[in-house]
């Protein structure tokens, strides 16, 4: 019998603490990606700075996250923890995606809305805050939600910079006791345990918002 159930239960606390770290990292980095992405989507409409920013974001989006993680981790002063680097890089990387999502939402707001805001001589902040963004963001909620799941599934990459997330913990306890099969299989199941329910939630969100 190559599967040791008793051992599997023994390592569960370690793995669950890894999962908890994973969830924390995902949530903080996601909030960052949401805010930064929105800022980028708005600044991108400024003529010259916008195109420059577009190029930078395109570069970030088409190069591997893991290299960015390791690169920034190596350059960062040693006082900065891997966890901080991980959250920052994940947040910036995903903001290059969320910026595109916001952009498509903003472009989806019809021209008449802009014109009406202008005709009422609303200040820019009100035009964006009260007219454009509420309509734009509502439409892209499901797409944004997809990136939460995607980000969650990218957190194992933090393994490369030694953050004690789920995969790192599994590797640690698994190789200490020569029980790699159980450790990695449980990791797979834990991932499914989180990502399948969240996929169902996203599908609900799609039904609720995308049809508007």
């Amino acid at each position: 019998m190559f599967w040791d159930f008793e051992w599997t239960f023994q390592i569960m606390p370690d793995l669950l603490s890894g999962l908890w770290a994973t969830v924390q990292i995902t949530v903080i980095a996601y909030l960052m990606a949401l805010a930064l992405g929105l800022a980028i989507a708005i600044v991108r409409r400024v003529p010259i700075i916008g195109s420059l920013l577009h190029f930078v974001m395109e570069f970030i989006r088409t190069t591997p996250l893991i290299i960015q993680l390791v690169f920034v981790f190596l350059l960062a002063p040693s006082t900065v923890s891997g966890m901080t680097v991980g959250i920052l890089v994940l947040g910036v990387h995903y903001s290059s995606y969320t910026a595109e999502v916001y952009r498509s939402g903003i472009e989806g707001v019809s021209k008449g809305q802009w014109e009406a805001a202008r005709a009422l001589s609303l200040p820019t902040t009100r035009t964006w805050g009260a007219i454009v963004l509420p309509q734009a963001i509502r439409k892209v909620i499901p797409a944004l939600g997809n990136y939460l799941i995607a980000m969650f599934k990218d957190t194992p990459l933090l393994f490369a910079i030694g953050v004690a997330e789920l995969l790192t913990e599994a590797q640690r306890v698994g190789s200490a006791d020569f029980r790699i099969v159980e450790a990695f299989t449980v990791v797979g199941f834990l991932f499914l345990l989180v990502s399948i329910p969240s996929a169902i939630v996203i599908r609900r969100l799609e039904k609720r918002y995308a049809a508007v």
Binding site: F59, T63, I66, K153, Q171, S195
Partner: protein, 245 residues
């Protein structure tokens, strides 16, 4: 200047790594494409059994991160079954299975989006199921799949970089080795990032060419307009953002 000399001196090493990355990308894409087509078409079947098989495949392999799959195949599989996969093969298998699951959803929804009347016409013409798929349904769905497939290919290319963690000598591994050997962190990693960026640009261009061809075959005007310059602009106006992941 020193850094540039360093980079030029090491260029062959970088190119070797880039070639492995390209191989991983092409191998993974080929596997993902086949899996996406098979499970995507199964997902549109009338009978519940193929549909259930397709759903299970999609949810399982989409739900597990490619790196976790890769680790499982490289480290857990040999212990559990006694088979040791080649590192490169394990990486391609993990990437293909993972991205194939995303692709299957794309194929399924593209086929379902083909107008019902088209399918009814094939029934009226007494075409077999195979003829219907090959001559009518897939060519129309194909044009719709391609923009999202383009995104997925880029995602897959980026995901190949994790293969260095199981010992594949790709571009990421070259960057790491150069850094360890010389201590030139910035040059080693920037060089790798630029090469990844260039590979991505080539892939994007190739996918746009494919997209154009698919649209032309259906007698549609390419959304970006004609001429070689239009290839530099994103062609698909109606591409849904955020479906790729």
């Amino acid at each position: 200047m020193e850094q540039i000399e360093f980079l030029i001196e090491r260029l062959p090493r970088f190119l070797d790594g880039a070639w492995v990355t390209v191989q991983l990308t092409l191998g993974g894409s080929a596997l993902a494409f086949v899996l996406a087509m098979v499970f995507g078409i199964m997902g549109t079947a009338g009978h519940w059994l193929p549909r259930a098989v397709s759903t299970v495949y999609v949810e399982v392999f989409r739900g597990i991160a490619a790196l976790v799959l890769m680790f499982w195949m490289a480290y857990a599989l040999p212990v559990a079954t006694g088979f040791q996969l080649d590192d490169m093969f394990a990486a391609i298998l993990a990437l293909g299975l993972n991205v194939g699951a995303y692709g299957a959803e794309v194929v399924r929804s593209a086929i379902n989006a083909v107008p019902r009347a088209q399918v009814e016409a094939t029934v009226a013409l007494n075409l077999s199921w195979f003829q219907r798929m090959r001559l009518v349904v897939v060519p129309q769905a194909w044009a719709q799949m391609l923009p999202t497939f383009g995104n997925l290919v880029i995602e897959l290319m980026k995901a190949t970089a994790v293969a260095y963690l199981i010992g594949v000598a790709d571009l990421a591994a070259v960057a790491q080795q150069l850094r360890e050997a010389t201590g030139e962190t910035v040059v080693a990693y920037s060089g790798a990032l630029v090469l990844y960026y260039l590979i991505a640009q080539v892939l994007i261009l190739g996918m746009r060419l494919l997209e154009r061809r698919a649209n032309r075959k259906l007698g549609r005007v390419t959304p970006g307009g004609g001429g070689p310059l239009s290839l530099l602009r994103p062609p698909s106006v109606g591409t849904r953002v955020g479906v790729a992941k």
